[in-house]
């Protein structure tokens, strides 16, 4: 659900990073935060446990620039990936305009990816969204590790709708902005379609 403010000439959209525990959702946001000009970003808020696991969400407001005199702002959120935070994940998806699914490329994490992907579909459906119709991008993260699944195999299992995907190494920033750009573009085009 975007917020179009004709008074302050702003368009605000919400993007949620989803995926299994430790797949790199927070790392994506941290990289974006580090690599964005100070005037384009707000504070990166992390509601995390003492061991730096996301407890509720991370939040990063980004101002991308202007289109036709309207400031375009994106609010990036992550969900807590750990299975038992299911209730919190649902809340964060409320009013989402676009979703990034961060998948962990390691062989032993494939099952967690699939589980998280199903969880995403169920939670979206509960809010009346269909994943197939929502702006959506997948990032196959951790491509620098040795024990990884070939990207095309991952794509076959996780990317049923043929949405844009990117290989990523979130710690070094590989694929991070490409992923964000792909989803942000879809969000803006979706807005255009609806108005």
């Amino acid at each position: 659900m975007s917020f179009i403010n004709y008074s302050s000439r702003e368009i605000n959209c919400k993007i949620v990073y989803y995926g299994p525990g430790l797949c790199g959702k927070t790392t994506n946001l941290q990289y974006i935060y580090r690599r964005t000009n100070p005037e384009q970003k707000g504070k990166l808020i992390s509601l995390a446990t003492e061991t730096e696991r996301t407890l509720f969400f991370d939040f990063l407001p980004l101002a991308l620039g202007d289109i036709k005199g309207f400031k375009i702002r994106f609010h990036l959120y992550t969900v807590p990936g750990q299975v038992f935070y299911a209730a919190s994940r649902k809340l964060i998806l409320k009013g989402v305009d676009g979703v990034v699914f961060v998948a962990d490329s390691q062989i032993e994490r494939m099952e967690s990816n699939l589980e998280s992907f199903d969880d995403l579909k169920i939670n979206l459906a509960e809010q009346g969204y269909e994943l197939e119709k929502l702006p959506f991008t997948i990032q196959y993260n951790k491509r620098d590790l040795p024990n990884i699944v070939p990207v095309l195999d991952m794509d076959r299992f996780l990317n049923l709708g043929g949405k844009p995907w990117f290989e990523g190494v979130a710690v070094t920033g590989r694929g991070v902005f490409e992923t964000l750009k792909a989803v942000a573009k879809q969000v803006l085009f979706e807005l255009k379609k609806n108005y």
């Binding site: 659900m1 004709y6 919400k14 809340l91 964060i92």
Partner: protein, 164 residues
């Protein structure tokens, strides 16, 4: 999208802004702000200069969402008021028309009773304004007015340019 995008027009924004200013004065509050349930700041008034209102808005919405989750687990529809008491400052959060969140930050110069009373009055007015906005959006969508004003002209290139 789900058809429930929030649109704010100049006219209604001014009405909201003046209602918030009135509430700010009458309740003797430090800061008053209005947030959409998804965490986006709609308007604010008072001593906001050294406050990170964007983060506050997002966290307030998270707070309301979490409390709403608790309510449903208990079989309640929603808890419409939250109140946090601090050493100096207090924060009063209330849901308006299931859609927006009204936040009042106040200190010893005011009191919870006064804030509650004034918030109740302001809520009624604000609810009406948001009903007006919903009607207006439906009407504009029907007439295709929103098209001409903004989105029809956005090109692939405009969007690409954002990421240079």
């Amino acid at each position: 999208m789900t058809g429930s995008d929030l649109v704010m027009y100049e006219e209604e924004f001014r009405k909201i802004d003046s209602e918030l200013q009135k509430l700010h004065q009458q309740s003797n509050a430090k800061v008053v702000f209005l947030v959409d349930k998804n965490g986006q700041l709609i308007a604010s008034t008072g001593e906001t200069h050294d406050l990170d209102t964007t983060s506050l808005a997002s966290l307030t919405a998270g707070n309301i969402a979490a409390t709403g989750g608790i309510a449903r687990l208990l079989g309640e529809k929603e808890f419409t008021i939250l109140f946090h008491e601090g050493e100096k400052d207090n924060i009063h959060i209330s849901l308006i028309g299931q859609r927006v969140i009204l936040v009042v930050i106040f200190d010893g110069r005011s009191s919870l009773g006064l804030v509650r009373l004034r918030v109740k009055k302001a809520s009624e007015t604000l609810t009406k304004i948001f009903e007006e906005i919903t009607r207006k959006v439906e009407k504009d969508k029907g007439e295709g007015k929103l098209d001409e004003s903004l989105f029809a002209e956005i090109s692939d290139e405009d969007i690409d340019n954002l990421f240079r």
